[in-house]
Symmetry: C2
Subunit: 419 residues, 2 copies
């Protein structure tokens, strides 16, 4: 039976979520007997609710292939969490109504933990209401906090960006430290977990390599221990490079970024934990400092994406279509690690019910006993994820990223207001 | 006559200053009849004053070749400005004394405007004192503010980094803007001139492409005009990406970064103009914002260096040795532009006296009449400088940068204290 497919990107975008989209669309196109068109939600699930669907069949094979090397969300993503099924059943019923109007038999939802939950609910609703639908979640999140899967597409590329960047900046600092900056602080993402900060530790391969200090959200900030460590490192190594997670908290659980700065008018914080940490060092030791905040640069840096990450992102997109065609409702393709070195992996399957609302924490044994470093076990886990480069094509000195036509499908239903 | 050469790196380092070092050392090695050893100053000119010289002949050809793809200063650099010749003649005489002790007949000083001045003074002193010395300055500065030369090695790679980064981050913002961040601010270097901020403008190739606003140090910050422009862009495009120079000043000449933040204890600023600008937008329009500060990441990002920049950096190192061998004292090799498109250039010569203490400003006609954009003339100048990629080798997912042995030459003179 020929049905259409729906695909949407959800939540914070990554350097490789479009590679997953390419995997979905190219695989769907390879099964013209089973899948008609892939309709994408403009701005994620909002596009489904408002019946703002993009007809991806209007995109050339070249444009779809170029998604593989284009960062961010080509169809638009959104931060919009559907309420519970009991709380706002109307919203879910609207989804089914839109799917019915466009003969959508396959639902692909590409996101993190919340999205897995939504995909699971949609899958159940299809079954409950007798509307024939196969719902598949596809993992994506730089936070690397989904359970079951070895890692989450998007994370490996951020990890690589952070490790490359702290290595490069530390070379800079090391060469100037005698008369200039002695302490450098790089702030990275990870509000709730230290996965990204930990990845910075991959840059350190020998004793005293940068970063010499990592500040994790899992470890309450011990100002005295930190300042003592900074001094010790500067005395021994000549400089100190620090990676700090945006989620760093003090002992009473407050974010340091919020404890810190006020503007000239006394208004609350402007954000940024790096300047707060750098300033503490300056106050205590008087060292000249510099700090950087990578922010969106880290998760959009397709130019230095991890090849493993790109391959996995694409493979999960492809697998999600293959699973859907096998009728595997309420499932999610996941990465299964077979071996650390050489890194071997394959695509496995999880049930969405096991993924939804379960957060994978970074194991405590990944953080060194000093609280400022990563362990060998952590390295073994992380190292494979940043392997390989996968440079986008460049033209005129700049990466040539694709912008899709994103032609809208004609609407068939009355307008709908988001609740 | 066989003499040794001295080479030192000065001031802020770049992604390609070691490419220049490779050009110097490899070219010197190709003339074993004229140049004995290249002795490098450890930590720049301080190494010459303190007789802390590195014997580069102890480095393998492979290590020297790897300098071409290694960022920052392999021998150490410093921020140490020699006083005037009249003010502290002793310091210059100490240099000559060290050079005499190690039979140094060639002096290569790789830096910006101050360094050209120092190189010029050293050149003169050699002539005055009858010590046979050929002094050559080699341009380097991300600030791109040296006169005569078409551009300064180091700048092209920062320019590329900034243009690539704002393009990537803007793809991210564009795909999330409906429900999330609408305004993104990227802070870049350039305390006195807007060259680096202008380079961000290369990412915009079509109308309404990011960055839609550039804030230059040359244009006093007009808060009302800026806020109106942000709103207009967000209304029309859906989001607004901004590149701001760290040197942005308000109308009475104060840096915005200093006007801005105070920490919780009321201590003066932590630095950073991006959060100040972003917060103004938030206060006025309520838009959700994000900001990034690239800091050292931009000037150390060898992984995304401009190939043109690397080639020019190397070529200038090579030319400096060739000029020295021709006895061209008090000179500096420079880049001469022959054509914009295709970009054609050759190495020319300047007199250090014409370079020293002359700052090249960004022409006003490079900034659009609105004060927030670059002109076509600016694009024509900048575009060639970011052409081509020159990826370093990677191993295990990370760039393989060289660390030299940096073996010290035995000292022959009494110790010397820096004044």
């Amino acid at each position: 039976m020929l049905r259409n497919a729906f695909y949407a990107q959800s939540g914070g975008v990554t350097a490789v979520i479009n590679a997953t989209a390419a995997g979905v669309i190219e695989t769907a196109r390879a099964h013209p007997d089973r899948i008609g068109r892939v309709l994408a939600g403009r701005n994620g699930i909002i596009g489904a609710l408002t019946e703002d669907l993009i007809d991806t069949s209007r995109e050339s094979p070249e444009a779809v292939a170029a998604l593989r090397h284009t960062p961010a969300g080509a169809f638009g993503s959104c931060r919009y969490k559907l309420k519970g099924l009991d709380e706002n059943r109307a919203e879910f019923e609207r989804l089914i109504e839109v799917f019915r109007a466009h003969d959508i038999g396959y639902f692909f939802y590409n996101g993190g933990g919340d999205s897995a939950d939504t995909a699971w609910k949609v899958s159940r609703l299809g079954a409950e209401t007798g509307y024939p639908l196969v719902g598949v979640g596809i993992p994506k999140t730089v936070d690397n906090d989904l359970p079951i899967t070895d890692n989450c597409p998007g994370f490996g590329s951020v990890a690589k960006y952070v490790a490359v960047s702290i290595r490069e900046a530390a070379f800079d600092v090391a060469s100037m430290a005698l008369t200039s900056t002695k302490v450098f602080v790089l702030e990275v993402m990870g509000r709730h977990a230290g996965w990204i900060a930990a990845a910075g530790g991959l840059a350190a391969e020998h004793e005293d390599d940068a970063p010499q200090i990592i500040l994790f959200p899992e470890i309450p900030f011990d100002e005295d221990a930190f300042l003592a460590r900074v001094e010790e490192v500067v005395e021994r190594v000549g400089y100190c490079a620090i990676v700090v997670s945006e989620g760093l908290r003090n002992r009473d659980g407050r974010f340091l970024s919020e404890a810190g700065t006020r503007d000239a008018f006394g208004h609350a914080q402007l954000g940024g934990v790096a300047p707060v940490v750098a300033n503490l060092v300056k106050e205590k030791h008087g060292y000249k400092f510099h700090w950087a905040v990578a922010d969106y640069l880290q998760r959009s840096a397709r130019h230095i994406a991890s090849r493993v990450d790109v391959e996995q992102a694409y493979a999960l997109g492809r697998a999600s279509v293959e699973m859907a065609l096998q009728g595997k409702n309420a499932t999610m393709p996941v990465i299964v690690r077979k071996s650390d070195a050489p890194y071997e992996w394959e695509v496995g399957e999880a049930s969405l019910s096991d993924v939804a609302n379960v957060e994978k924490k970074m194991p405590r044994e990944f953080i060194g006993p000093d609280g400022f470093s990563i362990t060998d076990e952590c390295r073994r886990y992380l190292r494979p994820l940043i392997q390989g480069e996968d440079y986008p094509p460049f033209e005129g000195g700049l990466p040539r990223y694709v912008r899709l036509r994103n032609v809208a499908v004609e609407k068939k239903l009355p307008a709908y207001s988001l609740s």
